[in-house]
């Protein structure tokens, strides 16, 4: 170690030939902004101005948006009719399960009144409640490969307990297909039948890619217990749109599925008669059944949530902005006041 005047940590005088040789042996780290942690960085300082204006801007944007969304949702006309109890004759209501499993005539007539003008297309849904289509055991009980291609009709491992019938594979196999919804609705207005278009209710991609054109139902609903609808064995799966809609399992226990579309306008005060076949057994798990007729807006179906959420956030931001403004005016605090530093507040810092 040399005892020379401590030279600063700067490298030995650059430029001379000797120093370039020294540099080669030098372990001096190379300079880069990354290693020296000098990359540009920013840390916004939350001044009152910034905070208040940010909150204000948010409320200014969110409140009108919320209002727009609410109006859009209000525009949607929706007719909901619960019929699961009503469609059971009063004498049988004590034991609904026995009734639905019995052989009696299940037809039932409901009358709906149109509250407002409804522009076409009007969507017809059935809504089930307390039906856990998202149950783990239910969801996995299907065979996608079997649905797709006739070659794979023996791939039924996942389909238990509805996998085969007497050693022959069931197509489509699995609990989902087995429990296919089988209530039917016939609509009429002023005794004129109201056409419900049942084509084009399934996703195009499902029809084209997930359900095979040459896969036909086989051994379907032949077991002791019938789960739901039966399928016409002569129509390929890709054309069985009710099945395709049903096979797209719902995420929540309350769900709507598209039944069909009415392609004509309904007028205010119209009464619609629905003649329905109440076949589907939701009574064993006390599920509800509803029929829904609904128009759509640019925002989709009737849903107030989005509008309310926007209004709430916007409102809170506005209140906060106001509160901060008041606070700022009543008890202002100078920015960068060192007396607020923790070591200045607590003397000694022991």
């Amino acid at each position: 170690m040399s005892s020379n005047t401590p030279s600063s940590s700067a490298a030995a005088a650059a430029g001379s030939a000797e120093s370039s040789a020294a540099r080669r042996n030098s372990k001096r780290p190379k300079y880069s902004k990354f290693t020296q942690q000098e990359l540009p960085a920013c840390k916004p300082i939350l001044t009152p101005g910034w905070v208040i204006s940010t909150f204000l801007i948010i409320s200014v944007i969110f409140i009108p948006l919320g209002v727009i969304y609410l109006f859009a949702s209000q525009d949607v006309v929706e007719i909901v009719d619960r019929y699961d109890t009503e469609c059971i004759p009063p004498s049988d209501r004590a034991n609904k399960v026995a009734y639905i499993q019995g052989a009696a005539n299940k037809s039932c007539t409901r009358t709906l009144t149109v509250p407002k003008e409804m522009k076409q297309p009007i969507y017809v849904y059935y809504q089930l409640e307390n039906f856990y289509q998202n149950h783990r055991r239910y969801v996995k009980s299907r065979s996608d490969s079997q649905l797709r291609s006739v070659k794979d009709e023996n791939q039924i491992d996942a389909c238990k307990p509805e996998d085969d019938f007497g050693g022959q594979p069931i197509v489509p196999c699995g609990l989902i297909a087995w429990s296919l919804f089988n209530d039917t609705y016939t609509l009429s207005r002023k005794n004129q039948p109201l056409a419900v278009n049942k084509k084009g209710i399934a996703w195009k991609s499902d029809k084209e890619h997930k359900f095979g054109k040459n896969v036909f139902p086989k051994n379907f609903q032949k077991g002791n217990i019938t789960g739901g609808a039966k399928l016409n064995p002569n129509i390929p799966l890709s054309e069985q749109e009710d099945l395709i809609v049903w096979m797209r399992t719902a995420a929540l226990p309350t769900f709507r599925k598209l039944y069909g579309k009415i392609e004509s306008d309904l007028h205010k005060g119209d009464t619609i008669e629905v003649n329905l076949q109440n076949n589907y057994n939701t009574y064993s798990f006390s599920g509800k059944k509803k029929l829904v007729l609904s128009t759509t807006s640019w925002l989709g179906g009737k849903n107030d949530f989005l509008g309310i959420a926007y209004l709430t956030v916007g409102g809170i931001c506005f209140v906060l902005a106001l509160a901060f403004t008041v606070m700022y005016l009543v008890k202002p605090r100078r920015l960068g006041d060192p007396t607020y530093l923790s070591w200045n507040r607590i003397p000694g810092g022991r």
Binding site: T35, R136, P161, I225, L252, S284
Partner: protein, 984 residues
Amino acid sequence: MVRSGSFHVDSSSASHRRTPSRTVTLGHIQPQAPSYRTVYCNDRESNQPVRFKGNSISTTKYNVFTFLPKGLFEQFRRIANIYFLGISCLSMTPISPVSPITNVAPLSMVLLVSLIKEAFEDWKRFQNDMSINNSTVEILQDQQWISIPWRKLQVGDIVKIKKDGFFPADILFLSSTNADGICYVETANLDGETNLKIRKALERTWDYLVPEKAYEFKGEIQCEQPNNSLYTFTGNLVAQKQTLPLSPDQLLLRGCSLRNTEYIVGAVVFTGHETKVMMNAMNAPSKRSTLEKKLDKLIITIFCVLVTMCLIGAIGCSIVTDREDKYLGLHKSDWEYRNGLMIGFFTFFTLVTLFSSIIPISLYVSIEMIKFIQSTQFINRDLNMYHAETNTPASARTSNLNEELGQVEYIFSDKTGTLTRNLMEFFKCSIGGISYGCGVTEIERGIAQRHGLKVQEEQRSTGAIREKGFNFDDPRLMRGAWRNEPNPDLCKELFRCLAICHTVLPEGDESPEKIVYQAASPDEAALVTAAKNFGFFFYRRTPTMVHVRESHVEKMGKIQDVAYEILNVLEFNSTRKRQSVVCRFPDGRLVLYCKGADNVIFERLGNGTDDIRKVTREHLEQFGSSGLRTLCLAYKDLNPETYDSWNEKFIQAKSALRDREKKLDEVAELIEKDLTLIGSTAIEDKLQEGVPTCIETLSRAGIKIWVLTGDKMETAINIAYACNLINNEMKQFVISSETDAIREAEERGDQVEIARVIKEEVKKELKKSLEEAQHSLNTVAGPKLSLVIDGKCLMYALDPSLRVMLLSLSLNCTSVVCCRVSPLQKAQVTSLVRKGAQKITLSIGDGANDVSMIQAAHVGIGISGMEGMQAVMASDFAIAQFRFLTDLLLVHGRWSYLRICKVVMYFFYKNLTFTLTQFWFTFRTGFSGQRFYDDWFQSLFNVVFTALPVIVLGLFEKDVSASLSKRYPELRASMRSRPKVPKK
């Protein structure tokens, strides 16, 4: 083994305490195999049958075949990985709601990354080994020297090692180019001691120096089996039908290097892993950071949350699931749905699999990666911590402890080499009441700066000489100018005293430029160097004579060689605190020169020079307050008769068999009286650059600094003043064993009694100090406190009964100085604070005697760039200068802590949100455990999709800039007080 240089002027005599270096045991001594090894020198064929190990070394952890099993085993020692392995197994079973890929993919990815890191590190070790193994050494083959790589060296080979070369193996020293078959060895790599050790070859082998001669050497070495004891070696050399005993003096150890010797020839005895240094190699105990330990607790908490969640789900499921739900097809006899209990049981495990992502699998890997980059890219490459003079960058030897640096509250520092440069420079002197030397010490400069005074750059008069050990600038004394001073005779006496009264050995050419002084302590060398520069050049020592080349004595410009006969040397020891030499001038004049501590000398002065005495005392105080180490010089003319009668007594005492030291001391008292004061010298114990500022910054950051040193109390306090640790405004508690009561007890000599007395005294002192401390803490604006304690008292204060008192006293003190402490005590003090106060501790040191302290603290820091490597090898971080602690702690440590904390929070945040979504969803799926996310999304969420943002945060997050956090060290203190990691 004779180890020269273990005596220091400022360290105590062996009777007082053991020299630190001896107490360091490197690993435990293994029991020796009973058998002996026989080595046939210069005869590879005869050695063939024994199959000695080769000289290639390997420090790698794995090889190609063991890498996978061993590496995986290491990985699965981590509890989180075991957990995920279990989950992966679960996910293979049908009860799993997710496909196995969800858990297997992240686990394998994590393992892969860790294994790659292991492999990379091992590869670097391998390359390091290779470069060592491939360095070349010259061995004797067919009468000539041939270079071969180290790894090809075999036991029994005759090797030649040149100056400054490293010994490739443990070598039996045969011959050297130096006279008397000696060579100098530097053992810094072994024990950190930088002074040279002498090794001596057997006289019989001195001739085997040239290849022709060495070729004839045929000998048989019978020696002990390889072992790890560095300081022992026993064996015999059987050559020419003679058996010669071998001692450690003839053994040159691998890792040492040859100094001051052109080349040596030796025979290889132990090679490769059998060398003593390799058998001593131990892995530094791996330390885990406290944050990581907290993290473990956090993970256990999270795991409990997981279990709770799963229990809720399981209970829910067994209630909700109705076997009559016909669409679930439960009617078909499924045994797992037989009853509610079964359903609950299986659902529990289903949910465990589903919610497993609540424990962040990539947490450890990400943190490790972040820390790795932090240490390799940021700490190792910080230009602020690069020391250009020694060409040493900082180096993080482990990346585990980055954030620990940000939490350090106590620093334990070694003094010599860490705070000071261990570089003594003659700085000022006072002769006959006149102070000479116009330099300004760093301490004075620091004080002036603190008082806001402008300090001008050092201006040196032209022709001022500056060399190692000499930094004196005053034209009044240089080049014979002292002849014109008021007291030329006293000047002459001072210079002579410096040139004669010492135990220094000159080495090398007898010219002022080339001579090297080998001194027991750098103080002595500095004094002799000073004499040389004043024109009294000490150039040769024989057993009875000291030769001095004196200039300008009789008249200006005249140079003459004078030989002084040394009659008696009254040696230095810690009780005497002085050293005297009786010498006879060529003209027959008899003089006693004495130098020693001021109070000792002043007690022994004769009458008559009161004014000089007073002024000198003032000067001494001035020197002391500027942080200089002072010595007083005095002389006495003797008349031959008194001398002869005294000398008889001296010889008697010297040959006494009992109590020789005591008797010698008594005899010395007889002659060391009625001295004439010459003046005093002041030596600057140079602080490392920037130490006072660094210490001030660190203490503003709320870090307390303790100095633990082997030095005597005065020196330690002096340095503490110099470093700003203690100042006059502070209240000092001094607990010293140098009190009358203790000394009295020691004189009586009963060991049990001594122990009892010291313990009582220490207890009394501690109690008193503690009361005072608490009193002054209670008063507003009471003075800051400092504690000075010496090793002997510390030994008793560390006793379990007094430990609590010591701890509470020392925690109340702003600074603590422990002097005269052994390496073991250093470690004990460190762990006292670490365990007793539950604070994060940091130890910093440079020598082998600091190793235990470095390993005992949470964070160990070694000073690198010096010769010794031992401390660095044991440390977690190595920096070149003490002052780099500012950057290491305030910038890197602070940021690392901040970043890692944020990363941990981020991790738990993202995984909780991710998993809680799943949890809420199970309520809507009848608690069946249906997954909410796609398999691939879930498996890649942690290890891919959200990996980068966290790492970026862990690397780039900054709350304030580096310069701000250095300018306001208080920021760090404020950060520590608020918990960053949520306590769940």
